[in-house]
């Protein structure tokens, strides 16, 4: 159930021309600033907006859009699931009826549709809320119900439009971890649109960065954050996201090495280190930062007045240092350095 799309849309100030390929079971994140055309792209894939040019093909054979051949499958005939930023659960239906809606329109009998809906509500952990109206759900519960509604019919394609950005910070962490779990179990192709690099890094197998309607970079999350091609990408995705297991205020990384964090947690987590919080030293420093790691400088790329340094070692992170500091330290690729980060500067998320 792969997706292959070449989409061109010209609408007012927006000039969008993006090619996407998503394999079975793959999660592709489309990352970019507001107004880059990400949501327009998703609306085209969903069939809600006719493209001005290009093709959308599913499974290599099923043509949903082909402007040249004047083929256009309407939205309701495309077998897909979509999750919107503000869930858009129908306010006049109960949660169960919302989740069963797509099955009912596709001709599933009422009792069977309700049973399948109940099963999915169980899977997303809100089985007991089935009789409620969406207005009486919290943001996190509503977004879980919206995910169940999108996935219940086992669609070929799952479209997620900023699925976490309407949630408050705490709920966001839990729902993100759950979403990750559900995406791992989903066999179809997923396109996730987001402006939050953490969502893209934590959820996607591959990232496409879109700026002003054009793809400026594509690759794995690690790849994109290590070798940003534009200043925008550098600022956006410099985050090093490291998987590990937390025990109190210490996280043991899956790749070896430990990281001290300020917030206590337990179990599998992601540790996120922003490049601007990493300082570099030529010899082991004595000071307050609790994270002091030996590392080797792999590469250095200037971005404006700072230089992004890629470090290799037990804890592979990126460091942004000013161009002056970089010159004074006399750093060159291959140099041995010490990297320090304050524990309070390290973010830790459940995964």
């Amino acid at each position: 159930m792969s997706l292959s799309a070449q989409v061109a849309v010209r609408r007012g100030a927006l000039d969008l021309a993006v090619d996407l390929e998503v394999a079975d079971g793959e999660v592709l994140a489309v990352l970019g600033p507001n107004g880059a055309g990400k949501s327009t792209l998703l609306r085209v894939l969903a069939g809600l907006l006719p493209p001005d040019g290009g093709r959308v093909v599913v499974d290599g054979a099923e043509v949903w859009d082909d402007v040249a051949a004047e083929v256009r499958v309407p939205a309701h005939a495309r077998h897909l699931g979509m999750v919107f930023q503000d869930h858009l659960l129908f306010p006049h239906l109960s949660v169960t009826e919302n989740v069963a809606f797509g099955l009912r329109t596709r001709g599933v009998r009422r009792a069977d549709a309700r049973a399948a809906a109940g099963e999915w509500l169980e899977r997303v952990g809100i089985a007991e809320l089935g009789d409620r109206r969406p207005g009486r759900l919290s943001g996190g519960q509503a977004q879980r119900a919206a995910l169940a509604r999108a996935l219940v019919g086992d669609p070929a394609l799952l479209l997620l439009d900023e699925p976490l950005s309407a949630l408050d910070a705490r709920t966001r962490l839990t729902v993100r971890a759950e979403l990750r779990h559900h995406l791992a179990g989903y066999a179809g192709s997923t396109v996730l649109v987001t402006h939050d690099p953490v969502d893209a890094m934590a959820l996607a197998d591959r990232v496409v960065v879109v700026e002003d309607g054009r793809v400026v970079q594509a690759g794995t999350p690690a790849d994109v954050s290590r070798h940003p091609r534009t200043d925008y990408v550098a600022r956006l995705v410099g985050l090093a996201l490291l998987p590990g297991t937390a025990a109190g205020s210490t996280v043991r990384l899956d790749g070896g090495g430990t990281v001290a964090v300020a917030e206590e947690s337990t179990g599998p987590v992601f540790v996120a280190v922003r490049p601007e919080s990493v300082a570099l030293w030529l010899s082991r420093p004595d000071g307050s930062p609790r994270n002091v790691w030996p590392a080797r400088l792999v590469s250095a790329t200037p971005h404006g007045s700072t230089v992004r340094c890629e470090l290799d070692g037990e804890v592979p992170v990126l460091a942004d240092v000013t161009a002056t500091a970089f010159a004074e330290l006399g750093l060159a690729p291959g140099a041995a350095v010490w990297a320090t980060v304050k524990a309070s500067e390290v973010a830790v998320y459940a995964r």
Binding site: R43, A46, G47, L48, P74, A75, H76, A77, R78, H79, L80, G81, M82, F84, L88, F90, P91, H92, F101, G102, T105, R106, R149, A150, G153, L159
Partner: protein, 265 residues
């Protein structure tokens, strides 16, 4: 709190005309209540002509509302949702009866549906149907005058409703007709109800188009407003009693709408 503070600060040049305005609007109603022969109210209401006129009014206004719903809700959808060209022209045409004097509407209906009319001629020749001066004519006249209220009201509700719910329905496999029935209609149901009440009240009070197109025959076309007008000329007390009935019905309508209108300060 804030309402009280603002109320205390109303400048005299605004306060005086505002107070006069209230008096102007309320005084006639008070006058009606004061002049009502309360002792005779029971027997007066029991007079055969009153019940007949009231029944005819309620039935024809309800039928006019039903016709308006069947034709008006789809029309409102077309105005609010379709990408039809010339929609603004269409909207202007639909709202003409709102500003047209009802008598003119009656004349126009007569010219089209009358025995010599454009369509009426054909109806007469083909089916032997004559519309003017029948209860059907009452319903048609009332529908003509009242339907725009429903259309405007429902169109407003449709515009206010979030169209993205319809997008969500489409991604769940619902075609536009299913989406209309199962998502759009329930979402704008309060707006449709308000429009229907408004439409019904307007139909109930219809006078000019009805008397022009349907005439004034007790039992078939004499609705309450016509009965009031006629009674005033021969028996003012009867007119007052009939007016009181219409006032009661209007107030009931207002109560039905209070959440929508009076609640919105």
């Amino acid at each position: 709190m804030s309402a009280r503070r603002e109320g205390a600060g109303v400048p005299v040049p605004l306060m005086v005309p505002a107070a006069l305005g209230v008096v102007f609007l309320v005084l006639p109603v008070v006058g009606l209540l004061v002049s009502t022969p309360w002792a005779q109210l029971g027997p007066r209401l029991a007079e055969p002509g009153v019940g007949e006129a009231l029944r005819l009014s309620v039935v024809s206004a309800t039928l006019a509302t039903a016709v308006s719903l069947v034709l008006g809700v789809p029309l409102a959808w077309v105005l609010a949702r379709s990408r039809l060209r010339g929609r603004s022209v269409l909207r202007a045409l639909v709202t003409v009866p709102l500003v047209l004097p009802p008598v003119v509407g009656g004349v126009a209906l007569f010219l089209v549906l009358g025995r010599q009319g454009l369509v009426g001629q054909w109806l007469d020749a083909a089916f032997g149907l004559t519309i003017p001066f029948t209860t059907t004519a009452v319903v048609i006249a009332e529908t003509f005058v009242a339907m725009p209220f429903l259309v405007i009201s429902v169109e407003g509700a449709l515009r206010a409703a979030d169209a993205r719910f319809e997008d969500a329905a489409a991604t769940l496999g619902a075609d536009r007709w299913t989406t209309f029935r199962r998502v759009t209609l329930p979402l704008v149901a309060p707006g449709i109800a308000a429009g229907a009440v408004l439409c019904w009240a307007r139909a109930l009070g219809e006078f000019g188009a009805t008397i022009t197109f349907a005439g004034n025959f007790p039992g078939t076309t004499q609705t309450m407003p016509l009965a009031v007008y006629l009674a005033l000329q021969r028996d003012p007390d009867a007119a007052i009693v009939l007016s009181l009935v219409l006032l009661a019905v209007s107030l009931a309508t207002l109560l039905l709408l209070r959440d929508r209108w009076l609640g919105r300060v």
